[in-house]
Symmetry: D2
Subunit: 376 residues, 4 copies
C-alpha cells in the first residue's frame, strides 16, 4: 500500500483551481510511489473556501495559512496565493518541514527568494517552483534534444509572451496595476515564464538591458470613484546575453491585440533550431542541419507519441492534451520525487536565479543601461 | 442537495478510461442539476476490473453486463465495449429503464441500430451516442455560426480522417482486421465520426458512392502461427450527395503516413467557409464573404474565449484544452438533460441515421455504383 | 552564335500574356542552346493584336492562324487559344513541321487528342502540353524524391483544386457556362491539372467514379436579355483507382468560398508523404518514416535553394518566385529539347492520356457508375 | 508617343541582375508615361560587363562610373554597387542632374547620407532608395490599412530579419566580414530593411539600445593563407522607442539556422494587428478587434486580388508573385514619378533617417546604453 501524502493548498482562485484539478487527477494517470490526499484548503476569504472544497473534494479548510502550516497532518504546502505572501508562507512551511510547491514568480524580489531558498535548504524537504511550462511535453522534448546535441551551440534564444487583455481601455483599475502591490505587471507574470524556459533550455543569463511602457496611464476605479494611476508595466522588453555567449531577447506585453496566451520561443543553434508556441502546445518545430539541403525544412513534431515525454500517461498519438495537463505532470513528478527522495527541479534555487534575472531587467529599465545579473 | 445519478460503465479499455476520467471530472467544472456517482464498472475479464476500479474510483464491479443492467442502484449505463455487443446491452438497459450513453459506431449495422432506437423510444430514458467531436468547442461554434447563417447555403462538405498506424507492415493481425468480427476497418471507426459531423453541420445525406482498399493483404498472427488474411478495409473513400444539394466527400484511411489522428473538414458555403483539423482542435478557420475583398481571408479563431461553447467551464483565453475534454462536455450535457428532463443529441436516432449512411457506403463499394441512403 | 528559333503565338489573352512574358524572359535567365525570337502573334480579333505585339515585342502579326502556320519563318507554334481550336491548329502545325506547345486541356475530348498525337508523331517535331505545374520547383522536387524512393509505395493521392469566383450569383453567363462550347466547366480547366500531376507523380489511373453539380442553374446574360442556362459543371469530384493499386480522389470546384487558386495534393506512401498547396508554391511538406518516432513530423521544405530544381536560374535561398516562373521553366526546357533534339514531357501522349481520364470521369458522372479509363 | 528615359546602371552582380530584370519587364506590365531604355551598364570589372549587357540587353557599357554619369544620353543612374561607393556616385549623378535610384543601405553612415540628400535636393531630380519591401503588395496594403485607422494606435512593432548562411563555419572570410570595408555585417544589410519598414508603417524612432555579436571570430581566408579576423557583426539586436510612444524591437542575424530570408514583423495596435513574413510574401495576417469576440482571429489575407496594391498589373487572384516583382513595382513607380513630375518615396531623406537609426544602434552597442536618434 502506497504511503499517503497529505496536501494543503493555500489559494482558491485561478491557480488554486488548476492545482486542485491536478491533485485530483494525478493518480488516475500516474503510477505513483505515494498517494496524495487532498487534505485541506486555505483562503482568507471564508466564503470562497466552502464551495471550493466541496467542488474539488478538499477534506477540511483553514482561513489562516499559519494554522494550515502548523497542522501535523499536512505533508505538502501548495502555495497559490498572490505573490506578496509567497515568501512568508514558504519560509514558515519550510521551518515546519513541509514539502513545498510554490506558484511563480517565486517572490517579490531576489532577497525574498533567497530567504525562501535558505529556509528550504535548511529543512529536509522537496521544494519546487511551479514553472509548469517546463513540463509541456513538447518543451521537455526540446530539452532532451538539446541535451542530445541536436541543436549544437545555441546562438539565439528569442522569446515573447503576448497577451491582449489590457488593450481594452475600459478594463478597470485593479491591484495588478499598482507596482507597489504587484511588484510589476506583465514582467513578473510573463517574463518569469520565458526566463525560466531560457534557463531550462540554454543556461544562465549574464546581463540584460530592458525597456518598459505603460500604454494606458489611468484606468477607471471599479468603485466608480474616479481614475487610478497605472504604475505596473503593461509591457517589458529586454535583450540578454547568456553566459554561453548566446544573444537573446525577452518581450512580455499585454498589448498584443489578438494574442491570447502566446508564448513563443525561437532557439537557433549551430546544428539546428527549435520553435515553440504555447497556443499550439502539442507541437514543436524542429530544423536540423544534418539533413541534405534539398530536404531541409522546419518540421512540426506533434508531441503526442507514446515515447514523447509524459504522453504514455495519456492517450494514443494525435489525441492532444491541454494546458492543464502541465500541472498534472509537475505534481506527478513532485510526488515521485517525494516518494523516492530524489531531487526535483525547478526548485527554489531556480526560483532565485529567475528572480535575479527579473530584478536585473527592472534595474536596467530604470537605469537605462545594461545590468549584470547578480551572482547566485 | 442535488439528486444522485448512479453510473454503471461497461468496458475498461481506451474508451473506458476516457469516460471514467470524464465522470470523475465533470462536476468539478460543471454546476450540474444532478450529482453523478461512479457506482459500478463491468468487464468480462476480471483481472482488468480491479485495477480499473481502484484507479478511477468505481465503487463496485461486475463481470457480467446483464447483472449490471439488472441492478436497481444504477441509473445510467455507459457502453464502452466492442461494437458487437452494443446492441444487446443497450436493448437490455432500455428495457430496464436505464439512461444510456453508447460509444460509436452505435451498432454493427442499421438493423441493430434500429432495434436499439426502438427499445430506447419505448422506454422513458435519455439515450446518447458518444460522437464526442460534436462537443469540441470549435465544432460546436461552427454549428452555431451555421445556424446564424454565417456560411449561407452549403455547397461542399469535404471531410477526411487520416491515421497511419497500419502503415507498419509488422503491425500484427488482430481482430480488427477480420471483417466478420469488426464489421469494417477504418470505415466504421473513422467514417462514423465524419458522417456524424456532416449530419450535425450540413444535414442528411441522400446518396453515396464509395471505394475501399486493403493495402496489406496478410499480416502476421500474434501467436506466431502464420499469417492472417486482412478482410476489413484499410481505407474507405466515398463521395456523397446531401439532401440539400451539397456535394461532399468522406475519406477514412489508416495509411496516411505522418497523420496521427487527423480529422479535417472543409465546409464551403455561399456566405463563407469553415475549416477544422482535429490535431489543432482548439482552432477553427473561418472565411466570410461579408468582408471587403481587400481584407478577406481565412481567420484562425482560437476557440478558447469565455463566450465560446463550453469554455466558461475551463480556463482563461489562450489556455487550450485537450481531446479528453470533449467527453466531459458530452457527459456534462447528458447529466443536464437527465436532471432537467430535456432531450439530448446525438441520440439513437442519430446513431441509426449514421449507421444507414455507413451501410450505404459499404453496399456501394460492393456494387460499384451509387446507393441511396435508406429512409429513416 | 546560337541558332535562332522563331516563335509564333496564337492567342493574346491570359495565357497569351503569361507565355509572352516567358518567351521574353527565358534567355535572360537560362543559358540556352538556341535563341528564341518573338516573331509573330496571331489573334482573330485584330484590335487585340496591335497593343499585344507592341507591349511584348512580337515583331509581326497575323489574324488567321492558318497563315501563321504556313509561314516559313516560324519554327514553333504556341497555342494559347480557346480549347475548341487546339486540335485544328496543332494538326496543321504538325503537318507544317512546326514544333508545338499547346495550352491545356489539350483538346475537347480524347479523339481530338489522339488526332493531335498522331499528327505530331508523324512529323519530326517536339510537342508539349503546357501543364506548367509540373515545373513548379517544389513539385519537380517531389517527383525527384518519389523517384529516389523517399515515399515508397504510394497508397493515396488526394488532390483538390478549389476556386471561388463563381460563388457570386451576379457573375454573368459566359460561354464557359455552356457545356457544348466549353466542353466542361471546372472539370476540364481544373481537374486537367491535378490529373496531370497524378500521372506525373504516381502513374496511370485505371478507373474513376465521379459526380458533378451545377449550383447556380441560371445566370444573367451579359446583354441584359434574360437568363442563360448553365450546363457546364460548377464542380466535379471523382474517386480513382490507380494501376499501381493506390486509391485517390480529385475534386475540382469553383464554389469553394475563400480559396482563390488552391490546388492541393496529399500523397501518402509507405515510406513517407508529400503535401503541396499552390497558394504557397515555393513550399512542399515532407514526412519521412525514416526518422525516429520522437522527431518525426511534416517538414516544410522551402524550395528556393540553389540545388532545388530550376532555382539556380533565379535568386538566393529564401527569395521566392511566383506563378509565372513555371512558364519560363517549361519554355526553357522546351527550347533546350529543341536545341539538343531530346524528348520533352508532358507531350501529346500525356495530353491524350490526361484527356482519357477526364473523359472517363465525365462518362462516370452520366452513368453513375465506375468507368475504366480507355487504353492508350 | 511616350518620352524616352535612358537608364544607366552601375553594378552587375546580384542587385544588378534584379534591377535589370525589372527595367526589362516594367513596361510590359505597366502603362507608363515614359518609356525606359536600357542604355548603358557599368562595372569596373570589364569581363563581367559584356555577358551582362548581352544577357539583359543593355545597349552600351562603361568601366568607369564617372564616364557613365557624364554621358548626355543618360537620364537615370541606378546604383547597384557595393555600399562604399554609393555616396560619390550619387553626388556626382545629382550634380549631373540625373535621376537616381540607389540600393540600400544608402550610405556607409549618416554623414555620407546627408551629403547625398543635399546634392539631390540641390538638383531638380527624383531620388529613391531601393527599399523594395515597401512595394511587396501585402506590405503596401498594410500601410493602407494603417492609414485607414484599421490598427489604431500602434503599441508594438517587433521585427526580425533571420538568415542562416554564416552558420557554416567553413564559409570563408570575405570582405563583408571586415567592418572597415563593409561598415557592418547583418546590421546594415538587414536591419536597414526592417528599420525602413518601421518608418514606413509606424513612424520615426526616438531612441535605441542594441547589442551585437560575432559568433565565429575567425574564418579561413579564401586564398588558403590562414585565417581572417571577423569584425563585422553576425547579429545585431536592438530595442527601440518610437516618437509615437510605441515600444519595438529589431533583430537581424545570419545565425538563424533554417531561416533563409525570413523578415517578419508583428505590429500590434489598439484596434488590430498585422503580421508579415517575407518567405510568404503574398500573405499578410490581420486581426481586428472590431469583430465580435466569438469570431475574432488572425486572418490570412492572400494579397493577390485585383484591388490589392500592384496586383492589377499581374495575374488573377491566387496566382502568386515572387520577390523580384517588388523591383518592378519600385521602378514602375519611379518612372511614373519621373513622367508626371511627382515626388517618390522612399527618397534620400528616408535613406538619411534610416541611416541615422542604424548609426544610433551601432553607437548604443559600443556605449552599452540607450542612444537617441539624431535629429533630421
Amino acid at each position: 500500500m502506497s504511503k499517503i501524502i497529505n496536501i494543503g493548498i493555500v489559494g482558491t482562485q485561478f491557480m488554486g483551481r488548476a492545482h486542485s484539478n491536478a491533485w485530483m487527477d494525478v493518480d488516475k494517470f500516474y503510477d505513483l510511489p505515494v498517494r496524495p490526499v487532498m487534505k485541506a484548503a486555505c483562503d482568507n476569504v471564508a466564503e470562497n473556501l466552502d464551495p471550493f472544497c466541496r467542488r474539488f473534494g478538499w477534506q477540511s479548510n483553514e482561513t489562516d495559512w499559519k494554522k494550515l502550516v502548523a497542522r501535523d497532518d499536512i505533508d505538502v504546502i501548495d502555495i497559490c496565493t498572490s505573490n506578496n505572501v509567497h515568501m512568508p508562507i514558504a519560509v514558515a512551511a519550510a521551518k515546519a518541514s513541509k514539502h513545498i510547491i510554490c506558484e511563480k514568480p517565486m517572490a517579490m524580489n531576489a532577497s525574498e527568494a533567497r530567504a525562501m531558498l535558505d529556509a528550504a535548504q535548511a529543512a529536509d524537504i522537496k521544494h519546487m517552483v511551479a514553472f509548469n511550462y517546463r513540463r509541456v511535453p513538447a518543451i521537455t522534448l526540446a530539452r532532451q534534444m538539446i541535451e542530445e546535441g541536436k541543436i549544437g551551440r545555441v546562438f539565439h534564444f528569442n522569446a515573447v509572451y503576448y497577451q491582449d487583455w489590457l488593450v481594452d481601455p475600459d478594463f478597470p483599475y485593479v491591484w495588478r496595476h499598482d507596482k507597489k502591490v504587484a511588484g510589476s505587471g506583465a514582467h513578473g507574470d510573463m517574463n518569469a515564464h520565458i526566463v525560466d524556459l531560457a534557463r531550462f533550455l540554454v543556461g544562465e543569463i549574464e546581463a540584460v538591458c530592458g525597456a518598459d511602457e505603460v500604454f494606458i496611464k489611468e484606468r477607471k476605479l471599479a468603485n466608480g470613484s474616479g481614475m487610478g494611476k497605472v504604475t505596473a508595466d503593461d509591457a517589458l522588453f529586454s535583450l540578454a546575453r547568456f553566459c554561453s555567449g548566446a544573444l537573446g531577447s525577452f518581450m512580455a506585453t499585454r498589448f498584443a491585440s489578438g494574442r491570447k496566451n502566446y508564448l513563443r520561443f525561437e532557439l537557433f543553434g549551430s546544428e539546428g533550431s527549435l520553435l515553440f508556441n504555447l497556443e499550439r502546445l502539442n507541437e514543436i518545430q524542429y530544423y536540423t542541419r544534418s539533413e541534405t539541403g534539398c530536404e531541409q525544412g522546419f518540421r512540426t513534431i506533434l508531441a503526442t507519441e507514446s515515447d514523447h515525454p509524459y504522453i504514455n500517461k495519456w492517450w494514443p498519438p494525435g489525441h492532444i492534451i491541454g494546458w492543464e495537463h502541465t500541472f498534472i505532470h509537475e505534481i506527478g513528478d513532485l510526488l515521485t520525487a517525494i516518494g523516492t527522495d530524489k531531487p526535483i527541479t525547478p526548485d527554489f534555487y531556480d526560483g532565485l536565479r529567475n528572480q535575479q534575472v527579473l530584478d536585473a531587467m527592472q534595474i536596467s529599465v530604470e537605469k537605462k543601461t545594461w545590468i549584470e545579473v547578480a551572482p547566485a
